[in-house]
Symmetry: C2
């Protein structure tokens, strides 16, 4: 099928760009040194492509992602890089043969893991982002607590999420060095083999971790696109022009904010060339057509501002090479 024959809105993955992104990342972070973050793409089909490229361990953000990955036979080494109290759902996966590690940053989450039947944990260390993670000086105490509860402490994780989007590369690099110094200190107190951290925005700046957690690099978005990274935009939305207002100088396509994560702002219209976005509504995108003749039925293509919440709105990817649809991948790891 030709991409222009797809019903719209359609979530499109350019397979050549995706494969190039996978290869670029794998040259620096090969095999188990990369722990791709499933939250960015929520698809076991895409995860399997990464496993085939040598990355057998994965990161998840939700219990549903963990369950779906395990059910798909991708449970070789799953990390829930997030705190959870309902850890019994993870214990079930362990019983079924998956290797499950969960982040812990408190007595409560350690107890939940132990009580739920999880066997392995990472101590999640706050390295500057005001979110989860214990203060670095408490990491050793929590590791002791975890071992006291019979848990294997594999090491530490720390996510420098306050830095990954900094446009100034030098500032990003300096921040990462400081954050990772604090993670390294915590690691010395905790022990274990794993120091897990990083993301797409710090993929070549974070040098003290043993494994990189990155997901956005695969599909990319316009927010990361501003950083000059060597990863191309593999994700776009295809829409159809459903209305043209010649006197008003605008047209309307059927790509709306219910198909786009909007927290990073508006998407960018890349087709037709020269189109300028006016605004998004629930199911519509209004854009200027002053510089181009646009007709009802024409196709449009937009790049999302933020990959993760965009993907979470869709039930499938349409996978293309050039303009041909070559596969369909379910977005099968949605919801919680």
């Amino acid at each position: 099928m030709h991409v222009d024959d797809l019903p719209t809105p359609a979530l499109i993955v350019d397979l050549d760009v995706l494969d190039a992104n996978i290869a670029t990342m794998a040259r620096r972070w090969s095999g188990a040194r990369l722990r791709p973050h499933v939250k960015a793409f929520k698809s076991t089909a895409l995860a399997r492509r990464l496993a085939d490229a040598g990355h057998q361990g994965f990161c998840c953000a939700t219990l549903r992602e963990m369950e779906g990955m395990a059910a798909a036979g991708l449970g070789h080494d799953l990390l829930l890089a997030n705190e959870v109290l309902d850890a019994r759902r993870l214990g079930v996966l362990v019983e079924r043969g998956a290797r499950v590690t969960v982040a812990v940053d408190s007595v409560e989450t350690i107890d939940a893991a132990a009580d739920g039947g999880v066997r392995e944990v990472l101590v999640d260390v706050n390295v500057g982002l005001p979110r989860c993670g214990c203060p670095p000086d408490q990491a050793g105490i929590l590791a002791e607590r975890a071992r006291g509860r019979g848990l294997e402490v594999r090491g530490v994780m720390g996510y420098e999420g306050h830095l990954v989007g900094l446009e100034d590369r030098a500032a990003r690099e300096q921040g990462v060095a400081e954050s990772m110094a604090s993670l390294t200190a915590a690691h010395q107190a905790v022990g274990g083999d794993v120091v897990s951290g990083g993301g797409t925005g710090t993929w070549d700046l974070n040098r003290s971790i043993t494994e990189l957690q990155a997901g956005s690099y695969l599909l990319m978005d316009t927010a990361y696109g501003h950083l000059g990274l060597p990863f191309g935009p593999a994700l776009s939305l295809a829409g159809t022009v459903i209305s043209v207002n010649q006197s008003g100088g605008y047209a309307v396509a059927d790509v709306g904010l219910k198909s786009l994560g909007m927290d990073h702002g508006d998407p960018t219209v890349v087709e037709p060339a020269g189109a300028k976005l006016w605004f998004c509504s629930d199911e519509h995108l209004t854009f200027s057509v002053r510089d181009a003749a646009v007709r009802v039925g024409d196709r449009v293509r937009v790049h999302p501002g933020h990959v993760d919440p965009t993907v979470a709105y869709h039930e499938r990817y349409q996978v293309v090479r050039g303009r041909q649809v070559v596969d369909t991948w379910p977005v099968d790891l949605r919801n919680w």
Copy 2:
């Protein structure tokens, strides 16, 4: 089940508030005078509650909503209040016995409707919002075209979406009068029995239409909550505190921007009282805890900024009376 025993994040509907909203609206717009907009809630279970309250006709924004409503036996009088070229999917519903009307605003959409097997249309008139709808002075010409293609023209529709959110009630009222004057003029040229328009924000200001298209009033959100309307917040998200940083003065709950439409901005934390939102991440909400003792495992409750794209992220509603979960309604009209 008690609401605090639900896995989180959970999308909660307060049934008493919902029923009060249904009753308040029905006092002014009873029976077929209200055409509830399915896009705001995407659930046939909630639609059936409206049908039981006397509203048998519905508005949809997507083909999937139309198909789902028809399949659920709610196809008594379905309006796709949106332009579509792939109208064959609607023709299938007509063949299966549903009454289907579609908005048209161009020769192309009229031809698509006729070719697809749709029998009834409304001429969609632009009344000021830069989105779909023909210029008012072309409505009569399009109606002729539609009749020439064998279509029954039921009348006109026009959505004053540029006005529904205006905080100044007098300005809203004045704008509605102007928009509806233009819709009335178009109606005179088009003919038919139906003048469809309006929304939650103009529910008591729009006096020239024969039927009101409103959906947000049912569940509400903080954007509409600022307008002083007599509809209460029936929708909230329940989360769990998964991390507390005492020295930082903040806590983290498992309600993130993948469970919240963010185009109208951040949600509002309503429980614990006094909590102040710092920011949302994909799966997290960081909030201040300076004025309250918050512990890991505590529950939080937030009100979304925008109901429609919030609901579209979820697979089910948990329906509560007080603190008891009394039902679960699938959000079964998602996707396209």
